[in-house]
């Protein structure tokens, strides 16, 4: 907070508070909550000494680091001033984080999106492409068993506003904190809420699995093809100036399309991951 990182706070709020603990708990639900008494390796004392020594060495190492908030630290000297002073004119949108993310360093971001996509594929191939229907039936039975009347009605009221809010975040990344990454996660969180109350089968009917698999790849493809279009027009990869004569408008269009691609991919991958985790919840003990 004192570090002015609004966008990062935004992402961390969406990811750290939402998806990540839910995935952890889903895993716990799958592998069972048992706790072995021998939960530690033989020598915790040795581990502690090792950690202590490493930590001390690192702290000694920090003595040469630039002070917190120093304006002349090496990190502030190279490309950062250009981003800060020129992005307003060159890109024409107020949020510098978005202009760096989607324009100056769009190639990096493409890489990140591909990593997320690959991780999604990895999860799917590890956990199986929904081959067993009875597991899904098991969790649906649990969801149907307990009547959460109040929660169900509240969820009904809340889900549309959350979805809309995620789209708001998606399209206002230019002006304030936000963008495709955050929007995708919030969107997926709304769908997760829906799944938890209306069952996996219902959610599967609403969100067609094959469709979001295709959509996840389409998101990456959209991103990549933007670069391809500019490449075919004789400019550099992901150079947005081909979209319009006015550089600022061109940048704006390019960023909008790219953020859309990011948002679609992130939302779809998160949903896919969550669905495949949920599918795997089953009774280990009763087997």
């Amino acid at each position: 907070m004192s570090m002015d990182a609004v966008d990062v706070a935004f992402t961390e709020a969406a990811v750290g508070a939402g998806i990540s603990p839910l995935l952890m708990l889903a895993t716990l639900a799958i592998v069972g909550r048992y706790q072995k008494t021998s939960a530690t390796l033989p020598s915790p004392a040795a581990a502690f000494i090792l950690v202590f020594i490493t930590g001390s060495l690192l702290i000694v190492g920090t003595l040469d680091m630039p002070a917190f908030g120093a304006a002349d630290a090496p990190a502030q000297l190279h490309v950062a001033p250009r981003y800060i002073h020129l992005s307003g004119e060159e890109i024409g949108i107020p949020n510098m984080v978005t202009s760096v993310l989607a324009s100056y360093r769009a190639y990096d971001t493409l890489g990140e999106v591909v990593v997320i996509f690959t991780a999604g594929i990895g999860v799917l191939s590890l956990l199986g492409f929904s081959n067993s229907q009875n597991n899904a039936y098991f969790i649906d039975k649990i969801i149907a068993q307990d009547e959460h009347k109040i929660l169900r009605i509240v969820a009904k009221i809340l889900i549309p506003p959350i979805l809309l809010f995620s789209l708001y975040v998606q399209f206002h990344g230019d002006f304030g904190p936000g963008g495709g990454f955050q929007a995708g996660v919030i969107f997926a969180a709304a769908i997760i809420l829906y799944t938890l109350f209306f069952g996996l089968e219902v959610a599967r009917k609403v969100i067609n699995q094959t469709f979001i698999r295709v959509l996840a790849s389409l998101g990456v493809l959209l991103y990549g093809s933007v670069g391809l279009v500019s490449l075919l027009s004789g400019k550099n990869y992901l150079d947005y100036h081909v979209f319009a004569d006015d550089p600022q408008t061109a940048q704006h269009i390019g960023i909008l399309v790219i953020e859309l691609g990011v948002g679609i991919t992130v939302a779809c991958v998160m949903m896919l991951i969550f669905f495949s985790f949920i599918e795997n919840i089953k009774q280990e003990e009763v087997r």
């Binding site: 949020n95 971001t109 991780a119 990454f181």
Partner: protein, 116 residues
């Protein structure tokens, strides 16, 4: 007082070492992943804190503001967080597969199984 200006790194190191300790001293794979997550968070904080400039404000252009913090680390970490959750999901699904084939998520038991 140069020492007190380095407190951000110390917080990072403490968090990092907590994560490290969990990774090397617990044998439960899920706990190891949680430890790695803490480690990861400490790296995020390290990056973000290097982007801070005293007196600066969030890098969104506004009137009457001249000093902004460095947006570059924000960009890097913003994507890293989402990538982090995706890779965590991958690790967790690996754990699920390990549990399915070994019947346990404790590292020492898995090693025993492998050796026997």
């Amino acid at each position: 007082m140069i020492v007190f200006e380095l407190f951000n790194y110390w917080i990072v190191i403490v968090l990092m070492m907590i994560g490290f300790f969990i990774v090397i001293s617990r044998s439960n794979l899920i706990k190891k992943i949680i430890g790695l997550n803490i480690f990861q968070t400490s790296v995020f904080i390290l990056y973000i804190s290097t982007g801070k400039i005293s007196g600066g404000t969030a890098p969104i252009i506004a009137e009457n503001v001249t000093v902004y913090s460095n947006p570059l680390p924000h960009v890097l970490i913003l994507t890293a967080i989402v990538v982090g959750i995706a890779t965590t999901a991958l690790a967790l699904s690996l754990v699920i597969r390990i549990k399915a084939s070994y019947g346990t998520v404790e590292e020492n038991e898995i090693l025993q199984r492998d050796q026997s």
